[in-house]
Amino acid sequence: MKILVPIKRVPDPATTIRVLPDGSGIATDNVKWVINPFDEIAIEEALRIKEKQSGGEIVLATVGQTTWQEQLRTGLAMGADRAILVKNDGYLDSLGIAKVLARVISDEKPELVLLGKQAIDDDSNQTGQMLAELLGWPQATFASKVEIAESKVTVIREVDGGLETIAFKLPAIITTDLRLNEPRYASLPGIMKARKKELKEIPLDSLGLALSPKLKIKKLTAPPKRQAGKKVGSVAELVSVLHTEAKVI
């Protein structure tokens, strides 16, 4: 089966994020860039499906700058077969990204698209669902288990209050949640092999899409900082302050 995995480059989740004083963005010096953790889970799931079916192809795709090649190479080192970078230096909103990916997908014709439920930079949680609608495909977001039998897919989803199971036929979009799997690290031989794998660059302009973002970010501000309170010396004191001072119990 051919699986396409869209990925995004984001700051390492362990990075301390600071808003620039002029509000134009975040400080990027000292930021380590990584594959969005949920997308890593998507790559891992694609690899497991390929291993189980002992065949198929995994294509990575991203819409970003030349530097994003790094994350594509990391994904190739994990075991994906080839990668596509749609080169774009400008700003696109989620719907714009989804339109570009929908175009790549209609050229590549994968049977399954796996991607993260949210990118940990803008935290929007939109692209997969938008992509499903643009393609007219079924969607399963927040997947914690994926089962494929013939061309039928059954997905267990993490929803409020429990787990939901839905099913559909391929082609389909699945977005990953944390419990789906634990992504592997790229091995040394994997990293060596990745250097020779195909990484195709496509200029965004060449796709001839009309994209004008309708969501605009005017400015960023730092959130109000919560002050640390006091340490209490004993359990009795804790209960007492919660009761008499905070009056919450």
Binding site: M130, A132, V159, T165, G229
Partner: protein
């Protein structure tokens, strides 16, 4: 112009408090933009829930009926809601960022070729909105353009709608859905059974982390505290990943966002991803044996102690307070 369709989530004849949050936020938005808020209840038999929602002050309630809307599924719901947006000429579609809201609204936005703002925390008078990014480390002021805009609101940032003096009028409509285009099939819902309050609705939340060390300890050590306080139980990602507690108890950037009157963090270090889900709580108390744990930098009251000793003691102390 200015009308707001509020998607009213419901399950098994009931609606969660987050639905009332959406009704209130939608009413607020409509007021600012010069329109009215219309709550939309979708289902194969939406009448009873629609009558319930009608008690909460929306200008109107639309009960949208179709057999394909029996169970919530993104494709059918997006199709029906998009058709209703066109029919009513509404400018906004809004709901709370619950699992269902997050699943549905982006699909709807794509169908309407509309921009979408996720989990807004404020509606500004100048037409802009505020939403958190980077696990709440940046607040973005954003603008949405175009004839239709799609919005989810963060449940903790808006109050729930209160019962209104008179009921809203209810309009019954058949949903326009081309059944041939539907591809998703509902199989089952495995509900987590619990007699405790809902995590996102509780006045007090007690959460446990990796420090609890096992699912068994959640039961014998933490749960007595949870129940003594009449609280909802939450957890860190580490505790969920380790299988100590079910997935839907995860609090944080990529789990649930809560802001109760009291949040008690037990054996949780306070990673930025966890703080993103609870730092707007009114009072935060933390029990951790490591005095350097980052959770103490946001806690109003911190106790440096071994939880296995402190938590049972706290249950006893609470009983004493209650007895008074």
């Amino acid at each position: 112009m200015g009308d707001v369709l509020v998607f009213a989530e419901h399950l098994g004849g009931h609606f969660p408090k987050t639905t009332l949050t959406a009704v209130n936020a939608g009413t607020e938005l409509a007021k600012r933009r010069g329109g009215s808020a219309i709550a939309v209840v979708m289902g194969d038999a939406p009448d009873a829930v629609a009558a319930e929602i009608a008690k909460y002050g929306a200008a109107k309630v639309i009960a949208l009926k179709h057999p394909a809307l029996k169970n919530y599924l993104a494709d059918a719901h997006a199709a029906a809601l998009a058709a209703l947006v066109k029919k009513t000429g509404a400018e906004f579609v809004l709901t709370t960022a619950t699992a269902e809201g997050k699943d549905l609204m982006p699909r709807l936005a794509a169908r309407l070729d509309a921009p979408m703002a996720s989990e807004i925390t404020a509606i500004n008078d100048d037409g802009t909105y505020v939403r958190p990014m980077y696990a709440g480390n940046a607040m973005a002021t954003i603008e949405l353009e175009g004839p239709v805009k799609v919005i989810t609101v963060r449940g903790t940032a808006f109050d729930a709608a209160k019962p209104a003096p008179s009921a809203s009028p209810v309009e019954n409509l058949d949903a326009e859905i081309d059944s041939a285009t539907l591809k998703q099939e509902f199989v089952s819902f495995n509900q987590t059974k619990s007699d405790r309050p809902q995590l996102t609705e509780a006045r007090i939340v007690v959460s446990g982390g990796r420090g609890l060390k096992s699912g068994e300890n959640f039961k014998v050590v933490l749960e007595p505290l949870v129940d003594e306080m009449g609280a909802a139980m939450g957890a860190s990602r580490a505790a969920v990943d380790a299988g100590f507690v079910p997935n839907d108890l995860q609090v944080g950037q990529t789990g649930k966002v809560v802001a109760p009157e009291l949040y008690v963090a037990v054996g949780i270090s306070g990673a930025i991803q966890h703080l993103a889900g609870m730092k707007d709580s009114k009072i935060i108390a933390a029990i951790n044996k490591d005095e350097e744990a980052p959770i103490f930098s946001v806690a109003d009251y911190g106790l440096v102690a071994d939880l296995f000793k402190a938590v049972p003691e706290m249950v006893e102390e609470l009983k004493k307070v209650k007895a008074h």
